[in-house]
């Protein structure tokens, strides 16, 4: 594990972590299985890196600790909506089962199918890939976050119920102030060569945020669907 820690470049991490090809650590499966602890990474960063450079990485690690402590404080809530959706839709408007085309990676939308293939083949996705996929499942397909979260837990090598379920809820808006969505411009900025953003099948993401907002959440301004 020490050799994995020695590969961390905290400065590049801070600069590039948002990009799909950025210098992220890919240490999450080791944290998930207790092979490495959060304290190990913090101690390593404290002795090997300038504190300023390490801030972003420590902050991300704190997200993990946060989700775990939220879960420990209310373990019986782990599969429940923490708050209502802020999308204008109600919980019963969301499909409780994951459609087969998503489960198989055959949605016909190039960038989504590429992300699903990585999930199934590598058991790993960059955080932004997870955000895109979760947003597509919950907001474009109107599937309940619970169905998507269950699917991720089957496949992610770092599948961790607290980080996973609360991240899904963060995207869904049941544990955040607004739903997370993305557009093709965002994918072009952050995906680099990792995704085929220019394929015509990605057209459902080719819009401004205002247009997407109006299309995906037509009742949001009124609060909920009449």
């Amino acid at each position: 594990m020490r050799s994995r820690l020695a590969e961390i470049d905290a400065t590049r991490y801070a600069k590039t972590r948002n990009a799909l090809t950025g210098a992220v650590t890919q240490l999450s499966p080791y944290f998930r299985h207790g092979i490495l602890t959060e304290q190990d990474l913090l101690a390593y960063l404290n002795q090997a890196t300038d504190a300023d450079q390490a801030t972003r990485l420590i902050q991300q690690l704190t997200w993990r600790s946060y989700f775990h402590q939220v879960h420990a404080a209310q373990p019986e809530h782990i599969w429940q909506d923490a708050e209502p959706y802020k999308t204008g839709w109600q919980a019963h408007d969301y499909d409780p089962t994951l459609p087969d085309d998503i489960a198989q990676g055959q949605t016909g939308i190039r960038l989504i199918d590429q992300l699903i293939r990585s999930l199934l083949k590598q058991g790993y996705l960059h955080n932004r890939g997870r955000l895109y996929l979760a947003a597509y499942v919950v907001h474009w397909r109107r599937v309940a976050w619970q169905a998507g979260a269950r699917w991720f837990l089957q496949h992610l090598l770092d599948g961790d119920i607290a980080s996973n379920n609360y991240s899904w809820q963060w995207v869904a808006s049941t544990f955040s102030n607004k739903p997370y969505i993305f557009n093709l411009e965002n994918a072009r900025t952050f995906a680099g060569d990792a995704l085929d953003c220019e394929h015509a099948s990605n057209a459902c993401f080719e819009a401004t945020y205002d247009q997407l907002q109006a299309k995906l959440f037509p009742y949001q301004a009124r609060g909920t669907k009449p």
Binding site: H33, I35, Y66, H155
Partner: protein, 147 residues
């Protein structure tokens, strides 16, 4: 009769620092548990490969039965495991502890105690409180949500 048996589980696949010669590292490969979790082959392979690298004893059995049997072995004085956050695993540990009150279930120390109690607040509320403790300074550029 003074061996400690460390019962590893999938949230704790590492030997404890205080392990001594003669102590045992044991993992129970419980098919019923894995059926409930419904993990992909890849996930199972990751766990298995990690276990191989640890050189621990692996028993393919029901968890409760395996602990029942191991606990009757005369040279084992203590059985130790660790708390789990996954509800299925946590229930399994609790069920085993009910049958074996001497099973020690150790807590996992958090990176920093955020003192979270319901109603839970958003991440940045806690981050602003612990940032200095963890990084030695405060940096308002870290107070924003991802785009």
């Amino acid at each position: 009769m003074n061996q400690t048996l460390y019962w590893l589980h999938d949230e704790h696949l590492a030997p404890p620092d205080e392990i001594e010669e003669g102590d045992r590292l044991v993992y129970i490969w419980d098919d019923t548990y894995f059926d409930t979790q419904a993990w992909s082959f890849k996930r199972l392979a990751f766990v298995y490969e990690t276990l191989c690298s640890l050189e621990c004893e692996i028993f393919q059995a029901s968890t409760v039965q395996a602990i029942d049997e191991l606990s009757t072995q005369s040279d084992i004085s203590t059985i130790v495991t660790w708390q789990a956050q996954d509800p299925t695993l946590s229930h399994l540990i609790q069920a085993t502890q009910r049958r074996h009150p001497k099973l020690q279930v150790r807590p996992n120390a958090p990176l920093v105690d955020l003192q979270i109690k319901p109603p839970v607040k958003r991440f940045f509320y806690y981050w602003k409180r612990v940032e200095k403790m963890l990084t030695g300074r405060q940096n308002p550029r870290t107070y924003r949500r991802v785009k």
